[in-house]
Structure formats: C-alpha cells, structure tokens
Symmetry: C3
C-alpha cells in the first residue's frame, strides 16, 4: 500500500487507513536505529530541506537523523540565517527552494497554515513540522505509535490531554488523530487555556485535571510556555503546578497501567512532577525514539515508497 | 578542456573561453538535478567549506546542494557561530581552515576583496560567493547560463541593468561578463545609485529606466536594499517603484521576447511588479535552477575535472 | 589495543597507555587527510552529534570534518538554535538525544563538569570539547601529538604555559597530560591569572614570562580573553603584551629549537608577536591539522575500534 497524498499537513486530513499505513511503516523502521550500521540506502540521492522558521532542537534533529538514516541528503535552513531577514515572502522563498529540486521540504513556521500555503504552490512534498497553534502531525503520529506499541491498540482507549489546549498544536493534532482512531479524549486546563467550541472536536472538557485523568489509559501533559506567565493566562507557575500539574497523588485516579506522555521539552515540577516524568508510567523517551521512526516512515512514503 | 585557475574570484578575470567552459559544463550538469537519484559520485571524498560571513539562504543552500549532488562533504560556517566573534582575523581563520585540508572554500564576505586575500594565502581553491559591493561571479555565470539557454547566445544581445548599480556586486559581475561575451549593456538608476566613471566599464548610462530598457533583449532588475531607505540614497520606496520599477507598462518598451531577470530575493511591488515577476517573460526561477548547475560545474572544474 | 573507556572527559583520567594509544592511532589517521579521496568507510552508519552550547568555529569544524572523513553522519546543534532557549535542563536534552540513538555526543558547554554529568546519564560515548574553565582534552591531545611528532618524545621535555592559567581549560588539560607523560611544566601569568594551589598540579609557578620560558623546549601561549580587559584582571592589553607577550626578544631565552604553540584563535600583537606566530618555531597550524587526526582517532576508538 502507498500513501497517495503529496504532503503531510495535518492529522485532520488523514484517514484511518493512512494513519495505520504510517504507523505500520514506522514500526518496520524502528529496528534500523538499533543496528550496528544505522543506515539503509532507501532514499539515496534524495534531498530533504529542513526549513525551520522557529527555533527547535528536537524536531529538526529528529527529521535530520531520520533523513540521514535513509541515506538522504539533508539541508538545514533556520530563520536566523535565512533571507527572512531580507523581507522575502514565504512563498517566494519556497519557490526558490523548489527551483533547486529538493524532494521533500519539512517546514516549521510560527503562522498557522504556512505549510498548506507552501504545499499548494510547490510540486515537492511538504511535511508540517508544526505551524503556529494549528497542527503538529508528526508529534501526534509518534504519540499514537507509542500508544499502539504499549497498548496494542488505540480504539476504545481513554486519553486525557492537560494544559494549554488553546495554544497547543500538539493537542489539536492528537485530538484529530485519537478521535479518528476511536479513542475517547478528555481535555483539561485553566479556563483561559481552553478554546471556545472545543467540544465540537469530539472531546469532553474539564476544568480540573482530576476529572480528565480519572480512569485514563493515557495522560498527555502539555508544556507550559513559561514566557507567557505574565500575560495573565494563568496566575503563577506555582498555582499552575498545584492545580494542573501531574503528580504522584492525582495520577492514582488514572488506570494502574496508565501511560504518561509529554511532547517535551518538559518543565520539571510545573506541568509534571520529576518522579512522574522519570517514573515507570512515563513513555516520554520512547516517544522521542519513535519520532525518528515516524519521520523515516513519512519521508519514505512521501517519496513513493510502499509499506 | 580544463580550467587552469586555482580560484574563481570574479568575472573580471575570466576569458571568453573560460566562461564558455563553465557554461558548457554547467549545461551538462543540469540533468543531474532532474534524475530520480540526484547524485553523481564525481567529488566523493572532497570537502567543501561554505564560509558565510554575511547572512544568505539561497546562495549558501545552492552551493551546499551543488556539493552534495556531486557527493562532496559540505561544512557550513556562518558568521554568527564563527570565531569572528572572538576577533580572529580573516586570514588566520582561513589558514586554520586550510590546515584542516578541505578542497574548496566558498566565501561570502562583507568586505570587497576578502576572497582574493584568502586565495593568495591558502593553497585550496576559493570561490567568491559575493564580496561587499565588488563581485558575485557565480550569480553572473548563472545569469549568463540562463540567457544562453533561452536566447542561444549572448553576443549581440542588448541587456539593461536597473537599480542600485553603485552598491551591487551582481551588476558589476554581470557588466564584466556580458560585455566580455559581446553583449551591449545599458544601466539605469537614480543618480545616487550610479557610480562615477561607470561608463569606463563599457556600458551606457541612463537616468530613466525607460531609456535603458528600450529595445532590450534582457532586463536585469536589482534588489533594493530597503534598509537603506532612510540614508537619503533614494526618496521613498513609493517613488522608487514609480520611477525605477519594472511594470506592465514600461516593459512594452523592450523587445517582445525580452527576458526578465532578478537575482532575488525580490521586493514585490518595489523594483518589480508582481505580475511581471510571475509573468511569461520572467526567468527568475530558471536562474535559481541554473545556479545549482553553475556551482556544480565550478566545484567540478576547480577540483581538476575537465569538460 | 582498545580504549576501554566509554567517554573521553578529561586528561586527568587518562593513563600513559591510553594517551599513547590515542596518539598512535591519530598518527595513523593523519595520512587520510592528505589523500585524493579524503575518506575512509570506518564509521559508516554511525551518527555523531556535535552539541555546542558555546560558540566555536574551529573545534566544531574539526570534529565535523573528523566525523565525515570516517564516513560518519554528523548532526550539529548549537546553543542559539537549541531548546536551551526553552529552559530545558541539560540532562533532559541529553536523554532526548540519547533516545534518538546516536553513537557519540561531542559536547562543549560553559559549565565545568557538564560533559561528566552527561556521560553518567546516557549510554552513548561522550567527548568533552571544552567545559567551562575545567578541561579541553582533545586540545591537549593534539598539542601532545604535535610535540611528539616534532620532538620524538614528551618525557623529559621542559614546557612553559603562559597566560591566563586560572581561566584556561587548555592549560589544565595540558598540565595533566604533560606531567603524566613525564614533561616538566612551568606556568607564568599575572598574579590575578594564576589559580591558588596551582603548584599542587605538579608545575612550577612564575610571575614573569622570562622565568618560565628559560630553557624551554615548548612554549604554549594562551589566548587572552579580550572581553575581560575591563574586569581588572589585567591592567591593559598593552601592558599585558609588554610583560607577558612572547616576542623575538624573550623567545631567545628558550632553547634554540623551541616549539611555539597556541590553541588559537590568536590575538596578534597581544599574547604573541606576529613574527613569532608566523615564524619558524611556530607549529600553530600543525596543531590544527593534528586536531582533525586526534578527533578521528577518538571517534574511532570510542566506537570500538582498535589500534
């Protein structure tokens, strides 16, 4: 089976079959990263451009490693060194990159919809590596891969997502993906962090973390953007930790075999207690490992590979 | 035929035969970028250092892609991460890089003559990727490659270069190259943007864009450095666009089959109207594609390859 | 013989046998950088992450070149683009990198002990590329390789290290390494630049450069951090140059065949006179060349290679 899409822009667009195809392909790539020679010749002679208009270590590194493990050439372009400083429009920059004949452009951008705009204008495959507060589909896919590896399935599970739902592309992509795959999703956060009409995405909404995580199979804690502390979105980090942080006490409300997830980087002692982040329920580092495999799968499938 | 030069520093130094050798070699490389496997083993085991002391996306990316398509290893060094911050002299930095045994050093530098200084002091090949307001020879070569591909020749054509001639290394390199190859060159720009004694370079000088582009086969529009707006070099962007911008009205003065060129990044609606930049006469994106091929040709020829 | 250590953290930990193993292996790699095809397949499929939390050109470039000459894949992460800006702890960042299954992590960090902390927490090999004012072992190893190549031995030689001993990781690593290998080490610098209890490291301490370099086989000049000029550590650059700079006059106190070394980047006319830096006694550029070979040796040995 092949992926017939040109681009991977968001979870909203993916069918159940497409999600399964990506997760199964990723599963088959996980072993490459454990070999003595961590490299396959699959994408030799292909060129992948990582166009990061927002700072990122882990996502850019994960895509770069994924590309190199498939023997593709990788080019990094970051905002600070780009001609963004010269006032070029995103579309003009993209069409210039297009003219250099890469195979895939991975883009992270502060503006929602930027990858979609790009994908419409250039013939290469575009992968959304995070656009504004909109979507971060590779994060959701790696999360779902991790859940499937640990639980054997996604359908029927109860997942809680806790934190700044309104500003989180990770939350949005996971809500789309998890509900599509048949999981129940509960969200919780301070009132200022819950978007209006969020129920229309098919989730239940809670104002206390306890209500969201009760009986959960999965808890996804979102990162607090600490630089927003003084924007009156939440009262103080201390209060946030007290009312919305995951800790050894409130985690007891979840199932015994609950998985604790976090997209990273974590704020220890704020949204998640250190002993929970490092504890037996945490799969935070498995998420990172699976991220490389998911990105290998997408680079492979978008380049015409089949499962 | 081989290129006997160690370095590619400027168009001023190149003979007609050398220019033809580079353009023909580039022509033969254009096909590599369209293959399924966009890579040839030509420069395997060679090391190319991209030393960019000024920010650049497209030129650095173009050189990096060119190197990788030839299977060379590429190293990027940018000013912001370099020991330039520690006050090291350029020569000392270059001699240090020399001691690490790369094969080619590509340099962009804000100071005119920096690549020439380097080339004298180190044994490796040096390619000038733009030095101050002096030369940008790979840009001129890709421009000439584009002209030749579209018009079949350069000799006898009438080219107009419009904009900030005084501060443009693109203009200087093209004037050297185009006149050497037998084209007639007319330049136009506001009085503050026309260097003294420019006629001595063998061009005709005009103070109105209309006079320069009348009957032209080629129009090269230069990028306005918008950050200079308040230095009294030109009155306002609006006036600049009105008097020196290329638009659907004044382009009628040129030949019907005129080519519109721009080194990018373009300022839409300032030096060039959007419908002209995206219109049928525009070869702006072909220029970008040809840039990779020209740089492949230079890396190949300077490493001892023959046509 | 193999290196049984997982990590290369400092000269303090290395035995004479280990130092000799590294230097001999480096010696065998020096030739690779002089070939037409400067590349061996030794580390194909290995992944090396260069994690530079302080700016650096030469050390990062040297490691990157070393990795590529061994056919490893290399990933660069610099502080300015890293999630350090998001407040992630070093350990969390490192464990994330660990989860992506690289083979070696090379780290430069402003805090003494950061590489050691890392090495304890992750399973991959860690190489210290400079930590605070603590150690810079690959610099000391390349210095010792250079000495051995020129003098045939290290034991019994008299070495002088001159400058800001207190804040220099280069000085500390060389003191550990040179004394271990049987050289005598004399240090000199202004009183504010000499650490207390430095005699306990087995060196003799001098307050005048003349006293340290008298009869020396080796003079290592340290770089003055000019940004510290106004911190009252030393009176003025001019006075520093006068009293502690190496010049054609005071160098006569050393042996006739003295080697002049400097870790770079040099401040011409401050700690070292230009004619000395470029003169016949100087091996500053050989140090740089040997740096690539030493780093190739370490990457090779830490990946399980044997001499």
């Amino acid at each position: 089976m092949r992926l017939t899409k040109k681009d991977l822009l968001g979870m909203k667009d993916l069918s159940i079959d497409e999600i399964n195809l990506i997760l199964d392909t990723a599963e088959s790539f996980i072993e490459v990263s454990t070999r003595e020679i961590k490299k396959v010749p699959t994408l030799r002679g292909k060129m992948i451009i990582n166009l990061f208009m927002e700072p990122s270590t882990r996502t850019r590194t994960s895509f770069e490693i994924a590309g190199k493990r498939l023997s593709a050439d990788t080019i990094n372009i970051s905002a600070s060194t780009s001609s963004a400083v010269k006032g070029e429009t995103l579309i003009d920059m993209a069409r210039n990159l297009e003219a250099m004949n890469p195979d895939v452009i991975v883009i992270r951008h502060g503006a929602s919809g930027a990858p979609h705009l790009l994908a419409k204008r250039i013939r290469q495959s575009v992968i959304n590596a995070g656009d504004g507060a909109h979507e971060h589909p590779t994060q959701a896919l790696l999360d779902m891969m991790t859940i499937k590896a640990k639980k054997g399935r996604i359908a029927g599970l109860k997942a809680a997502i806790v934190g700044d739902i309104a500003h989180s592309r990770v939350a949005r992509s996971n809500i789309y993906g998890l509900t599509r795959m048949g999981a129940q999703v509960a969200v919780a956060g301070p009132a200022t962090m819950l978007p209006r009409f969020i129920e229309q995405m098919g989730v239940t909404v809670h104002h206390r973390i306890e209500d969201a995580i009760r009986g959960a199979d999965i808890i996804m804690m979102l990162r607090i953007q600490m630089e927003r502390e003084h924007q009156n979105i939440f009262p103080s980090l201390r209060e946030y930790a007290k009312y919305f942080g995951l800790n050894r006490k409130n985690i007891r409300l979840a199932k015994d075999d609950v998985l604790v997830m976090h997209p990273g980087p974590i704020n220890r002692g704020i949204e998640i207690a250190p002993d929970i982040a490092d504890g037996p329920a945490s799969v935070i580092l498995e998420q990172v490992t699976n991220g490389v495999a998911v990105r290998m799968a997408l680079l492979y499938l978008l380049s015409g590979g089949k499962a």
